[in-house]
């Protein structure tokens, strides 16, 4: 947790809800189609899109599966992976 030196208490620990369990299908960025514009990162409400060494990836732990990233990606590079594709 971030170091703080305020008068206000910051609580004993962070209250974390397992919002990843809300996902119906996991969204995945197809790296070959990605133009690296970063729109998915800017618009993801849960801050689940990460920039690692110049490439964008979705970290699924807290992703709610809302589909905003899919709708906003100008390159149509993101899609939900359905069960039959997961194997």
């Amino acid at each position: 947790m971030t170091k703080t030196d305020f008068i206000c208490a910051v609580g004993k620990e962070l209250n974390i809800i397992d919002t990843g369990s809300w996902q119906v299908y996991p969204p995945v960025i197809q790296q070959d189609k990605c133009k690296k514009c970063g729109m998915c990162l800017l618009y993801c409400p849960t801050n689940s899109v990460k920039l690692i060494d110049g490439s964008y990836y979705i970290k699924l732990d807290f992703c709610k599966g809302c589909g905003v990233c899919i709708n906003e990606c100008p390159a149509k590079a993101i899609k939900f992976i359905k069960e039959d594709e997961q194997k």
Partner: protein, 299 residues
């Protein structure tokens, strides 16, 4: 550095799992605002969706990595002012930030906010405007627009949604003569981020940012449309993006060729029932506001 790279380099101050609805652009706005405002920040979130999603914590746990507290629906600005005064007294510069809904801002907490603005208290007040009391079941607020379905402005034989227009809170705040007032949209991130940076640098009074958000659950649209909807709101001139800085108005997004208002209205259940007369009345209201804004910006 691109704007996405810049945001990626900032720490997220909100806990990773909060219970906002799928695709909620208020969650997005809150995360972005606090990423920009940074670690040296104390946050006040009154009752409403953002308090309810546990960003203020639960039992003895917190929802953020920075101090956050839960004022009443009606005293957010005054409580925050008190905290800011303490820090001023001990000589420490801290961002005292409110993140409050339209009900908490335009209705219940209005006089506390107006008082803080008039006194020149150095707080940053961000209103997330989802046009109603969404957390308690989508009741109308004074920010709900004409014709909207809400649980207290039903649609049926006797009532056709809300019968009065939306209160023009951004102009009311500018009329207080505060050093900085801006409207913004989560669909226009570079603009929103620039405005947060400006608000952070205001040291001589209150900075007010009015974010035009939406609500998938209360307005009735699919979660993935969350950004598309508010973008349409801006592009139809329904949500004018401008700022008021040191006495001067500036239009930040000049919508030269607006999309038909119907395109915006028809994308959600909230306006499914609206009649041609209501659309015409809304259009007239929007045109008047836009013309007035153009005049203010030309001065």
């Amino acid at each position: 550095m691109s704007i996405a790279e810049k945001i990626a380099s900032y720490e997220d101050m909100v806990g990773p799992g909060i219970t906002a609805c799928l695709g909620c652009n208020v969650e997005l706005s809150m995360r972005t605002a606090l990423q920009v405002l940074g670690h040296n920040t104390i946050v006040a979130i009154p009752p409403g969706c953002m308090g309810g999603v546990q960003s203020v914590g639960w039992a003895d746990k917190t929802g953020m990595k920075i101090p956050v507290f839960f004022p009443l629906l009606d005293n957010t600005a005054s409580m925050l002012t008190g905290i800011k005064k303490y820090y001023e007294r001990i000589g420490r510069d801290v961002n005292a930030v409110a993140f409050a809904g339209d009900g908490a801002t335009l209705d219940a907490g209005f006089q506390a906010l107006s008082g803080a603005a008039e006194r020149g208290d150095n707080i940053i007040y961000i209103c997330y405007d989802n046009e109603g009391y969404m957390n308690t079941g989508f009741q109308r607020s004074s920010s709900t627009s004409l014709g909207s379905w809400t649980s207290t402005t039903p649609v049926g034989e006797k009532s056709k949604g809300k019968s009065s227009h939306k209160k023009d809170m951004p102009l009311i705040m500018a009329a207080h003569g505060i050093p900085y007032m801006a409207t913004a949209s989560p669909a226009y991130m570079p603009d929103l981020i620039k405005k947060l940076e400006k608000a952070k640098n205001v040291k001589n009074g209150l900075a007010y940012i009015h974010i035009y958000n939406s609500c998938s659950t209360g307005w009735g649209y699919d979660s993935e449309k969350s950004i598309e909807i508010v973008r349409k709101g801006v592009q139809s001139r329904f949500m004018p993006i401008y700022e008021f800085e040191n006495g001067k108005y500036k239009l930040n997004i000049d919508v030269k060729n607006p999309i038909p208002l119907k395109d915006y209205l028809s994308s959600m259940k909230k306006y499914k029932h609206v009649s041609e007369e209501q659309i015409a009345e809304l259009q007239e209201f929007i045109n008047e506001k836009w013309d007035n804004l153009k005049k203010l910006c030309a001065e």
